[in-house]
Amino acid sequence: MVRFIKPGRVVIVLSGRNAGKKAVVVKCYDEGSKDRPFAHCLVAGVKKAPLFITPKMHEKKQERRTRVGAFVKYVNYQHILPTRYVVSGDIDFKGVVTDEKMGSVKQRKELRKELRNMMTKKYTSQATVKKGEKAGSLHTKFLFSKLRF
């Protein structure tokens, strides 16, 4: 009764190169579009989840390991599995990931880089989350953890 594939919803990509990766819905095209006459959405996903770090590691190594690899993709609804997690307050995704930027290959590459920085920042800023925001951080934690299967 409720449409649940909405911007902010964490989703698992089911097919293609990024199968098994978690992503956030940025924009939904429930009615499809001219190029893609099927219900699909634009997702920004975590291609490579950040690895664990220990204080013993060199700072450069830590920085390398906390990097988040990102991808953007138009996915058919059939090829995603929505989860109950929602990453709210990610209106920044919507501003950054636009259809124009998805247009050319070069722009997509830059887009991915931008996303990568955004996601890494979001991931590292989780540690400084206040007590009141505990619920929200669970959802972002889910997004950045690797789905083991």
């Binding site: 649940f4 219900a39 609804y77 929505p82």
Partner: protein, 107 residues
């Protein structure tokens, strides 16, 4: 919530038949998921012998979409028969209830 146990399978069958006749329903796993995604589903039936993974998946979608799931007491052959079809139906999604009071009784 407790009412479910008291309702007989016969009652459910006749209600389902009424939905088929007067309302709209989609049969099959793929269509059920589609209707759930679109938010058009009102009620979902799952046969008892559905594969557990599929069953869980449909239940999860229903949980997300706040749609009620009815675990049909009978296997997919019986559910198909209840729909008036000559084939087995493992999952079924009611889009439009029609004249039936199926929603009121399962609520």
């Amino acid at each position: 919530m407790v009412k479910k146990g008291k309702k007989s399978a016969e009652g459910m069958n006749s209600k389902l038949a009424l939905v088929m006749k007067s309302g709209k329903a989609v049969l099959g796993y793929k269509s059920t998921l589609k209707s759930l995604r679109q938010g058009k589903s009102k009620l979902v039936f799952i046969a008892s012998n559905t594969l557990p993974l599929k069953k869980s998946e449909i239940e999860y979608y229903c949980m997300l979409g706040k749609v009620e799931v009815h675990h049909y007491t009978g296997d997919n052959n019986e559910l198909g028969r209840a729909c008036g079809k000559m084939h087995a139906v493992s999952s079924l999604s009611v889009l439009d209830v029609g004249d039936s009071d199926i929603l009121a009784s399962t609520a």
